[in-house]
Subunit: 103 residues, 4 copies
């Protein structure tokens, strides 16, 4: 199914006193990537499809994440999002995964 990969770097302001990414920032990364995935699916930028379909935003019903490896300041991560399923009542499930690359 549809997928999107982008690379981003874990910046100083994304990291906590342990020198690794503050995990909440991963959800910021995933949200950007989910936007990109939907933009690719619809062939429009988000600001355009919100207007085209006349709605304010797509609510998130549920999210979860497992954190398997610490990602350090300065690491480049690849974020991959995939459209997993489109269910009834217009629910879509998206998977997002990020993993650090050796820099």
């Amino acid at each position: 199914m549809l997928s999107n990969i982008r690379k981003t770097r874990v910046e100083w302001g994304d990291c906590d006193p342990a020198g690794i990414i503050f995990y909440v920032r991963y959800f910021d990364f995933f949200d950007v990537s989910t936007t990109m995935l939907l933009e690719r699916a619809l062939g429009m930028k988000k600001i355009e499809y919100l207007k085209a379909y006349d709605f304010f935003g797509h609510p998130l019903a549920e999210t979860r994440a497992k954190f398997r490896l610490p990602t350090r300041f300065g690491d480049e991560v690849s974020i991959e999002t995939k459209l997993v399923d489109i269910g009834s009542r217009n629910f879509a499930r998206v998977s997002a995964s990020g993993w650090p690359k050796k820099s």
Copy 2:
């Protein structure tokens, strides 16, 4: 078991163009509340117990959230954290829930 409740307000900078909380900010709220819960459990501030037990931080293994109600800019929310379980290998499970109060 141990629990903690605190109130916080959803601020302008926490909200997105739909005028509701950008859901990622909820994880910021939950993290602060989890810190407060652990501080209460240990009777020490986080900066103290990190030193006392000589470790850098407590990694998060997994998190998940369901979003049932939109929380609007200016809403006061109550965040409740509970220590659910302490498992083997020092894993702890914490539940956090937040709900808007009528303002």
Copy 3:
């Protein structure tokens, strides 16, 4: 003139790998305090006065900050905002200062 003081704590997710507040977070603190100052001045919550005066938000024209002392994770800071001046064309100047308290 009008002023507002509030205390807040520098949380784990506010700090960078140096273990001190990531300075950008201070602007988040100042913005919340400026909102509180304006709410006190107008006797309404921000969401109410935006409606009452029918505008979308108050744009910030300029801001600046000097950072004199490092604020560490876990420090409680006092944020004081003051309405300094109301100029022509509805410009207002607000000063905000934050300083860590010995914990």
Copy 4:
């Protein structure tokens, strides 16, 4: 003198209920660009030069910003940082400017 330009996009989570960038996020953008500028100046990644010169981070003494144009959700902005001056006691001054491009 040395300069750096990068493009970034104003994302949903960067914007406030007015549908424009929450101005504090501009400081996040500027910080990333300042890091990139210093990395270019020193020929090392930040995590490397912090180790090489054995220090924890470069404190910011002062910052200021003027906001001339609203930047909307979805806008691409160009962030330019320039090394303006290296003063006594190892102080450096960096200018950063960002402006939206017609998308």
